[in-house]
């Protein structure tokens, strides 16, 4: 499920942003460049509003900002890595290093299963370490594909 959505060009090997807002905008601009997002400001405002109602950060350096809304044309998944970490206001106060960014249509049936699958995958320390030490997008896709078998 993850491997079907995550392509080599959907992976940012080193995020430049060093704040939650900067990273969200970085993802949106990157998604816009891939033709996945058209209305940057609307996307940013809505996803930030959701973040303010409860951070999308999980424990152990993971964050999954996500938005489903009818102005998103089809489901997409981006992954960005920040080796230094970004403060996503996580419950365990750990900076987020593996950040998955998801957009989907309002009634997309794969939205919850995708969030669930990523959350479970990232609950394994070995997978987190492997993803963080991967050298290339293809390595990352290989790690995820192997886990999803």
């Amino acid at each position: 499920m993850i491997k079907e959505l995550l392509k080599s060009d959907s992976i940012i090997m080193e995020l430049k942003g060093n704040s939650k807002e900067a990273v969200l905008m970085e993802f949106i601009e990157y998604g816009n460049g891939l033709g996945l997002i058209s209305n940057n400001d609307e996307f940013f405002n809505k996803i930030l509003e959701l973040e303010n109602l409860g951070s999308s950060a999980l424990e152990k350096g993971i964050a999954i900002p996500h938005l489903r809304d009818n102005f998103v044309s089809e489901m997409f998944l981006l992954l960005g890595i920040s080796h230094g970490g970004v403060d996503f206001d996580s419950i365990d106060s750990q900076p987020s290093k593996l950040i998955f960014f998801i957009g989907a249509k309002k009634n997309d049936k794969m939205y919850l299963p995708l969030l669930s699958r990523i959350s479970r995958m990232c609950s394994y320390g070995e997978i987190r370490d492997d993803l963080l030490s991967a050298d290339s997008p293809d390595d990352i896709i290989g790690i995820i594909s192997e886990w999803e078998i």
């Binding site: 959701l50 409860g54 919850l112």
Partner: protein, 143 residues
């Protein structure tokens, strides 16, 4: 900005959260942050895996997937009511997991839905609530 008070909602059954959502209009205030803690009991899952003749680890993976799905579903519900919410999933011995969580994080209040279930699920939940009422130093609220 004033520090938010953390309200932990441990649950083993989605019905519990539906009951809590019904009570949210009275419970919610801007200074509170709710933490939904989905708990999966290993002992119960072992019994289930034997009964279903299914590999324990495979069953746990399915239960964890379902647990996360319910967490994300309820996170959306809470946010749609303008309620600040976080989600966490833990599996193992439920009482140990709750106590571990309370030690690890700064929790002000523990909130439960009243238990109406019978059978093993009902017993696990009753044990969890009784344990919190008797041994926790945190404020415990049951709705």
């Amino acid at each position: 900005m004033a520090k938010k008070r953390n309200v932990l909602i441990p649950f083993i059954d989605s019905d519990d959260i539906n009951r809590i959502i019904d009570s949210l209009p009275e419970l919610r205030t801007e200074d509170k942050r709710y933490i939904l803690l989905r708990l999966l009991d290993h002992e119960q899952s072992r019994l289930l895996s034997k009964r279903m003749e299914k590999d324990f680890h495979l069953l746990m993976a399915e239960l964890e997937d379902d647990g996360w799905k319910s967490l994300y579903f309820f996170q959306e519900e809470f946010k749609s009511l303008d309620v600040n919410v976080r989600i966490v999933l833990r599996s193992g011995n439920i009482l140990k997991e709750i106590h571990g969580f309370l030690k690890e994080y700064n929790i002000d209040t523990v909130l439960f839905a009243r238990s109406y279930k019978t059978g093993l699920s009902g017993k696990i939940k009753s044990d969890m609530i009784n344990d919190m009422l008797l041994s926790s130093e945190k404020m415990v609220i049951i709705v």
